[in-house]
Amino acid sequence: MSGRPAIGLLARMRALPLFAESPISGPYRVARLVLLVGGVAICVVGAIILLNDVAPKRYPGLAVWLVVAVLLHDAVLAPLLVAAGLGLLRARDRLRISARAAAVVQGAVVVAGVLTAVGIPGLLANQRGSANPTIATTPYLLSLAVIWTLAVVAIAVALVVPRLSARRARRK
């Protein structure tokens, strides 16, 4: 041990106060209390519905989905988005892309990405097929191909147009 005080995590946990800030002295006391009590009550209703209407043998499957959902977001999607943002930043600086063009690139990728996420169940439905010929009649892969083509065109225009106009300005 060095000379530092031996405050471990457990000791720190034990020393935790009930509240970091006094909940009684802050603003919106009544509104916060109503929201808190109402929120807990609504959650309890949800729990009762779950206990009454969903068979207990389904709980493990639901628990897996709840845990995997948050892991997929926090450990896969969110870090990927952070990495993509940093990558775009580096590319922007290295390739001397204007701030506006970089924003268009980011926007186009985000919008097309969101549409792709919304299209995933459609792709699954196309692949699995249905006994009902009026559901998932759209070829979603084609829709997404068109959407990504539009995104790529938007990106290309954002990257190329400023360069062309800069070159034209230099010639003059």
Binding site: R58, L66, L72, V146
Partner: protein, 388 residues
């Protein structure tokens, strides 16, 4: 022990600090969280209220005294699915904004802080699963190991409740950042500014709505490239939720021996198709509006329920129990309170859009009533029993 936890804690602290720094961006400010958060809160509130309304229509039909406007369910359930899909980009944007806060150190500053982070974990995971299974359900892609209807309803309450708790905790902060203040830096951001980010989120919400809402909003029909349904696609130009093949009713429904049995005070009255056609025929323009969020208006023709009831000596305003030829499943039987049976627009429909009902739309006879979910518009009628 204390020594070990100190060492673990000392190791974790710089790791968390680094993760937090890496994930941070000036655009991920409290103001951004408030701007996106209130849009998401609005979308979730619409989802919750319309969802509860849909369950009331189905589980407590006697609470409904006047089924007007006739497209009430078309509007509320359309709004449910539209705002649910719109909440996907909003939820992702909100989580993107607050992601650095996952690495706060120390992770808890108080006992209440532990409970708060727990409630946020519940809010996040329940929201993610709720929108995911909602989206899968409208495509009838059942890849999850639990029943949709019950789980989606229960999680809806959990999401809305934990959202209220979250707002309770953050209310002073929300109020402080509700309007753009002197501390606000709308142009800050490494790649994109806040204004740009909110713009991208807005375009994303617009794009998912434009490409899916055409399954229920007539004007957006041409842009429907990602929705599970397309208006006008299906037998007689109308989609169906369950085909006669899926319901296993083809032989019985096509049988010339088919008769509608109407039971009044324990006495059965049998009406074949000719007998039904001999009764006064009424035409009604009513939407078929599915719980899955698609809807379309159609022209129905058949016998008014009140005329049918009076023909067999029952009062027009009767509580009914209706059964389909379909043996099992939620659509095989239905309760119809007197408020619907007495309604001049409630029909035992024999025709759709000018032709005899297609087998997939419920031939030989089906129910069509104003303002009810499609699941209650019973197809392939077998019996109508007057309960009261």
């Amino acid at each position: 022990m204390a020594d070990l936890t100190t060492r673990v804690s000392d190791r974790l602290e710089p790791v968390f600090a680094r993760l937090r720094r890496t994930a941070s961006d000036p655009v991920k400010s409290t103001r951004t969280a408030v701007v996106i958060g209130r849009l998401l809160g609005a979308a979730f509130t619409i989802c919750f209220l319309t969802g509860v309304f849909s369950h009331i229509l189905q589980d407590y039909p006697y609470w409904i005294t006047a089924p007007r406007p006739v497209s009430i369910y078309r509007i509320t359930q359309g709004a449910h699915v539209i705002s649910g899909i719109a909440s996907i980009p909003l939820l992702l944007a909100k989580l993107w904004t607050v992601f650095p806060r996952l690495f706060e150190w120390p992770p808890f500053r108080s006992v209440a802080g532990i409970l708060e982070r727990l409630s946020i974990a519940v809010l996040i995971t329940a929201s993610l699963v709720e929108v995911a299974i909602g989206l899968l359900n409208i495509f009838q892609v059942y890849v999850f190991p639990f029943p949709f209807r019950q789980t989606h309803f229960a999680l809806g309450w959990v999401v809305f409740g934990s959202l209220a708790i979250h707002i309770a905790v953050k209310l002073p902060l929300i109020a402080r950042y509700w309007r753009s203040g002197p501390r606000d830096r709308p142009q800050a951001g490494t790649v994109i500014s806040r204004r740009g980010f909110v713009g991208v989120v807005g375009v994303s919400v617009g794009a998912v709505t434009l490409t899916t809402a055409g399954q229920t909003i007539d004007a957006l029909k041409p842009f429907d490239v990602l929705a599970p349904r397309k208006q006008n696609i299906g037998p007689q130009g109308l989609p169906v939720n369950k085909t006669a093949m899926q319901a296993g009713v083809i032989a019985q429904a096509k049988s010339p021996a088919w008769e509608l049995e109407v039971v009044v005070d324990g006495v059965s009255h049998h009406l074949d198709l000719d007998a039904l056609r001999a009764l006064p025929q009424t035409t009604a323009d009513l939407p078929i509006a599915c719980v899955e969020g698609w809807s379309q208006s159609a022209q129905w023709r058949g016998v008014r329920m009140r005329d049918l009831l009076e023909a067999v000596g029952a009062p027009a305003a009767s509580d009914l129990r209706v059964r389909s030829l379909q043996r099992s499943g939620v659509t095989s039987r239905m309760e119809m309170p007197a408020a619907y049976s007495a309604d001049p627009l409630t029909l035992v429909a024999l025709e759709l859009n000018g032709d005899v009902l297609d087998i997939d739309h419920g031939y030989p006879a089906r129910i069509i009533a104003p303002g009810r979910p499609g699941a209650l518009q019973t197809k392939w009628l077998a019996t109508i029993e007057v309960v009261r």
